[in-house]
Symmetry: C2
Subunit: 348 residues, 2 copies
């Protein structure tokens, strides 16, 4: 065990503040990573504030981690000291159940181990990316290309895979029309990725102020959902609707925009139920689905895809001590499109 | 044009009564069918009473039609006089759109022609199976095996295909666990078909009185959804939930019963919206879907499957003049499991 500086919150109603945590010494299969950048995901706020229940304190959030390998265990095969590395939402899973075998560790039947606010199988609490180092089994560490702007890669580890996985699962490609609902941290990645996969992308947003950005990011069309008759002429238009909105909203107003056999997949989870009229599903064999991050193999595939297509997140870099202010700005959607902490600011 | 006896309703608030309709003389591609049995679908009531809006009167309901070919047009290739024949919910479609080309005429982009309460492309109203004869283009006529009990075949044309199509679409087979929610006209067919496809079937019903029947029809397990903790131990159990209930009910209570990547498909459409919590879909990549009857090719496949597996509907035969009483009993779910009209009773 060794100590590293971190930022933690001691309770649901407390601010984040400097804190010291311990990390395990790297075991034979472990990779020790110096964290260079850590993205700030909206779920960090939900968990820090115990909005989903069951939060464990002190909590060190952060599951969009990129850095450089500084040590490896004796049996590590796929990483070398000095290489770039990434860690996303998961740091372990049972590896034997049907879901793990299928590469869907996020659905591990035993329960996967989250990067923070979780417990290792030996009972030790996990601490996330708002710290200077992390030690992770190599099977849950990702390779990161040197080609990309590293600080803008961090959000790919959650926002990237969360949008990439459903686009792949529902086989988005050339000739398809995809709508992305909500242009925030998730949505802006969804637009970039769907466009790179060859789809024609439409952004659906509540604010005209997002139109220029939507088109810059790769969208062809823009719909302001607050305008009267916003969806007129858009019925049966989309093969897939990637719905990234976590504020309460009507699913039913969006379902008629799906083509026959089309799917709307939720990656944002409103805290309250939304209404669904069965006829909107039945009449065109439509589907309302959900998707949760992605598996490790798929996350690597996403990172490789991003390197190939030169895709990163649009980020605003902050110092560690600006995190509480960043949370407040995120609550007002005042970020384009992801805060990333420069972890050098925690060492100094 | 020629006249045939029928039963029709002149208005949403009127009873069905004897009526005379005209049928077209068979054209070169038409099959003229003497109707022997006509099933009574719950949608007959919805439409007769204009509960879905847009009903056209006088209305002759009935889209579960079996009978014998009594004449064919010069260019008819696939039917001969004297053969059995069936007609389901559709009597025409554009035949050229993407959906028709894919064999999904029920989703025809031009709009398919319903067997009743619809209009042919030439503007003529369509009249359904509560009559002694019907004339239909051979492309929308099904072959019916002589092996099966004909009067019990009629409901296959709607209740059969409505449940068969989603079971096939979501690839139900051996080693899979399927739940059928609701044991009525649709549900009892769903149980028989899913069991014949090799799935382990569980019936979910609000009444213990259905348990014995559920098991007789092919179910292995039975859940009374009204009992406290009814679903305890059933979380993540089913690959597919075939939800046949058209009374308002909670989708959210059922979604957690789906395995990872599982689908609940609605084939009954409650008149009011139901609530859905996004988390229930997201956490296991579950899907809530709908399915609408099936295409013509798939309907033939279903009839052939039923002949091979000796599957028919459980029916109660009535005379034509008992139809209004039958509707009242159906409103109380007092039928096991489908009324079928013996059309000989209309001729006499």
């Amino acid at each position: 065990m060794y100590s590293v500086p971190a930022y933690a919150t001691p309770a649901a109603d407390a601010a984040l503040a400097p804190h010291t945590i311990t990390r395990r010494n790297p075991g034979p299969h472990d990779v020790q990573i110096e964290i260079l950048y850590s993205g700030v995901c909206h779920s960090d706020i939900h968990q820090a504030r115990n909005e989903w229940g069951g939060s464990m304190y002190p909590m060190v959030p952060g599951h969009e981690i990129v850095g450089r390998v500084i040590a490896i265990g004796d049996h590590v095969k796929n990483f070398k000291v000095g290489e770039l590395a990434g860690v996303g939402c998961l740091v372990d899973s049972c590896r034997t159940c049907e879901q793990c075998q299928a590469g869907d560790e996020q659905f591990c039947e035993t329960g996967s181990v989250g990067t923070y606010n979780s417990k290792e199988y030996n009972g030790e609490p996990t601490y996330g990316g708002y710290s200077t180092q992390i030690v992770v089994d190599e099977n849950f560490v990702l390779h990161v290309s040197e080609k990309l702007d590293l600080k803008a890669v961090a959000p790919l580890l959650c926002a990237g895979i969360t949008t990439y996985s459903p686009l792949r699962h529902w086989k988005v490609g050339a000739g398809q029309r995809v709508a992305v609902v909500g242009l925030g941290g998730l949505g802006h990645m969804g637009v970039k990725l769907a466009a790179a996969m060859g789809a024609e992308v439409t952004v659906i947003s509540t604010s005209d102020s997002k139109e220029a950005d939507a088109k810059r990011l790769g969208a062809t069309h823009f719909i302001n959902s607050k305008k009267p008759d916003a969806y007129k002429g858009w019925e049966k238009s989309f093969h897939l609707i990637l719905n990234t909105v976590s504020a309460p909203h009507s699913y039913d107003s969006l379902l008629p925009l799906l083509k026959t056999n089309g799917t709307m997949t939720l990656v944002g989870a409103p805290p309250t139920p939304s209404e669904v009229v069965g006829f909107n599903l039945i009449m065109q064999r439509r589907m309302l689905a959900g998707s949760l991050i992605g598996g490790i193999k798929e996350t690597q595939e996403m990172l490789d895809f991003c390197a190939e297509h030169n895709i990163v997140s649009d980020v605003e870099i902050i110092n560690m001590n600006q995190i509480n202010e960043a949370y407040e700005r995120m609550m007002k959607s005042d970020v384009k499109y992801r805060f990333v902490i420069d972890m050098a600011s925690l060492k100094g």
